[in-house]
């Protein structure tokens, strides 16, 4: 019985735990944190089981409330979902372990209730990834958005609420556009199930309403994932959020949105429609090229480490969108591999950043002097993450960029390949500047010898694990591609 219900357990376990946390925060405060950890542990176990099942037997379909798909809601888990699910839940769990002290420091009294909203956020992300229904995706998108508004506003006292309210305005427009797109699909096909819609759409390929539906879905998702001209909400929102929140938002929120885009492209609209009927692909690849360059250049202008990293996220979004829209297998492989890799390396960087914030409070470049002496372990993790973003082998960032560049050459999109290489160089400049500040730019005052003040072990071990996983994922990336991504694309 349990075997068949794993897809439901995946999303239920954090939801129920969020409710229990909320109840415990009134009567048994000590139980909140353990509940959160245990629920994510159960969810992680379920996601591993689901991945195994999918690899053995193929796509899992789970009927919610027992109704057959076009009537009811269906969870449909194939190789792509399964790997993203594993990624989402493991990052959420590791972050919760790593951020225990940081939550106490930054949120304090309300931290028990905070865990409830954190778990709801994870529930939303897991649900978005697992669902096979277009409207269910919207509801879950709103859960993630609402929880992230609240979480962001709990950060910086001056700027947090303002950044969050701006995010509300833009986020609502994004979600509403997606909803409108789904409405257009519904009015033309009468269905909301992704696979069902995909079977009904081919006869409507010439329809202008389907085209507009597609454009609105994409616009909505792009706003939510912060593709370049629509990115303005992201840097402030992520910078002024509490550490624990930016640690999960940065690696997961945008990546899950990229997943949604790829899901809509492959499962709902289909390659034939996108690349043969529409002439949008080239324009989108150009947009992605501009996004990559703009993200990297704007990152150069920053004097605050956290803000700089947020602009690098904008740059990385360009990689994935561009790769997905190249329209060949190599590009798509690169984009999907980069979802996994980018989530891991952004997570590593933000974990290191969180440790620095925990000790130094401010991560303005002036404060980073002599950081390698103060926090050697944290900085070791940071360096690995940085190498991965730059794309130095054998870290994982190199391999996905390799696939993306190969894809770009196959398509003849040399501008995209050029942007990838230039942005890697720019990232190298960015990070080596920080290494210089942290390593060489010691304070010349001889009386003031640098003493080591490293972050607590509970924050260092997760960082170490994640940084090592960057190398491991890099070394095993060929097996990820051969066992998961290529079978999915076929």
């Amino acid at each position: 019985m349990i075997n068949t219900n794993y897809p439901a357990i995946l999303v239920l376990s954090p939801l129920l735990a969020a409710l229990m946390c909320s109840i415990f925060s009134w009567c048994a405060k000590k139980l909140c944190y353990p509940t959160a950890i245990i629920s994510l542990g159960i969810s992680l176990y379920a996601s591993i089981e689901v991945l195994m099942q999918v690899m053995d037997t193929g796509t899992i379909q789970y009927r919610m409330a027992g109704w057959a798909p076009p009537m009811g809601i269906e969870y449909r888990i194939d190789l792509l979902n399964a790997i993203v699910l594993l990624l989402v839940i493991s990052i959420a769990l590791i972050n919760l372990v790593a951020s225990y002290q940081s939550v106490n420091q930054e949120i304090g009294k309300k931290s028990n209730t905070f865990y409830a909203i954190y778990l709801l956020f994870v529930t939303g992300l897991v649900g978005i990834t697992a669902t096979g229904d277009l409207f269910n995706l919207y509801v879950l998108l709103e859960i993630t958005s609402l929880t992230s508004y609240a979480q962001i506003a709990m950060g910086d006292k001056d700027r947090g609420p303002l950044a969050s309210l701006n995010y509300v305005f833009i986020g609502v427009i994004g979600a509403s556009f997606y909803l409108l797109g789904v409405g257009y699909i519904y009015i033309m096909t009468g269905s909301l199930n992704m696979v069902d819609v995909a079977s009904l759409l081919p006869s409507l390929h010439g329809s202008s309403a389907v085209l507009v539906a597609f454009i609105f879905c994409m616009l909505g998702i792009w706003i939510k994932m912060a593709l370049f001209p629509l990115h303005v909400w992201l840097p402030n929102a992520y910078t002024y959020a509490p550490t624990v929140v930016s640690r999960i938002l940065a690696p997961l929120m945008t990546k899950v949105m990229v997943y949604v885009m790829i899901r809509l492209m492959i499962t709902v609209f289909g390659f034939e429609y996108l690349f043969e009927k529409l002439n949008l692909a080239e324009a989108v690849v150009w947009l992605a090229t501009i996004a990559i360059l703009a993200g990297a250049i704007m990152a150069m202008a920053q004097k605050d480490l956290k803000k700089m990293l947020t602009y690098i996220i904008v740059c990385e979004i360009g990689y994935m969108v561009g790769g997905a829209w190249l329209g060949n297998e190599l590009g798509m492989t690169g984009a999907i591999l980069h979802i996994v890799n980018d989530a891991l390396m952004t997570f590593a960087l933000f974990l290191a950043l969180g440790n620095i914030v925990y000790k130094l409070k401010s991560v303005h470049f002036d404060n980073l002097k002599g950081l390698f002496g103060k926090m050697p372990w944290t900085m070791a993790g940071f360096v690995l993450g940085a190498f991965s973003i730059i794309g130095i082998p054998p870290t994982c960032g190199f391999f996905s960029k390799w696939y993306l560049i190969l894809g770009a050459f196959e398509k003849g999109a040399y501008h995209f390949a050029g942007a990838l290489i230039i942005s890697s160089l720019l990232c190298a400049v960015l990070f080596f500047r920080i290494f210089e500040i942290g390593f060489f730019n010691n304070e010349h005052d001889e009386h003031n010898t640098i003493t080591m003040s490293e972050a607590p072990v509970s924050m260092l071990i997760p960082l170490g694990l994640v940084s090592l996983s960057l190398i491991i994922t890099g070394l095993y990336s060929s097996s990820i591609v051969n066992k998961i991504i290529l079978p999915f694309l076929q």
């Binding site: 409207f135 509801v139 709103e142 958005s145 609402l146 508004y149 609240a150 506003a153 006292k157 001056d158 700027r159 609420p161 303002l162 969050s164 309210l165 509300v168 305005f169 609502v172 427009i173 509403s176 909803l179 409108l180 409405g183 519904y186 009015i187």
Partner: protein
């Protein structure tokens, strides 16, 4: 003109929803006061609700509650139900969800506005920006 007019009349509620949507978007773009922007956001969301509910409409049909089906006095199998007699329930269900979502978003956004007011003592966006540059 004589060809276009019937098209406009036949789909007038779709045009209405677009107009409403543009009003909402206009308020979100051009208003300076955060609360007015929030009201614009609500109008924007409401327009989409109007659009969905329009999808479900059928001419000469009634609300989607089956008549003569109360109680156990007769077996429901004897009832003959024509789909054309009742409007499509699905868009209504979807919009119930969307309404709840928009109410929840509005609540959270108001809470944020209250927090901003506490900090800056104003809800005018240009004044807030001025304060930010002063600091």
């Amino acid at each position: 003109m004589s060809e276009i007019l019937p098209i406009i009349v036949a789909k007038y509620n779709y045009w209405l929803y677009i107009i409403l949507m543009m009003i909402g978007l206009y308020a979100m773009i051009s208003k300076n006061n955060l609360i007015k922007k929030l009201v614009g956001m609500n109008i924007f969301q409401t327009s989409i609700i109007l659009f969905y509910v329009s999808i479900g409409y059928k001419t000469n049909a009634t609300i989607p509650i089956i008549e003569n089906a109360h109680g156990d006095s007769h077996s429901p199998h004897e009832l003959i139900i024509h789909a054309a007699d009742y409007i499509n329930p699905l868009p209504h269900v979807l919009m119930l969800t969307a309404i709840v979502v928009s109410v929840a978003t509005f609540g959270v956004a108001l809470a944020l506005a209250v927090k901003i007011y506490q900090r800056y003592q104003t809800l005018e966006e240009d004044e807030i920006r001025m304060r930010l540059t002063e600091e």
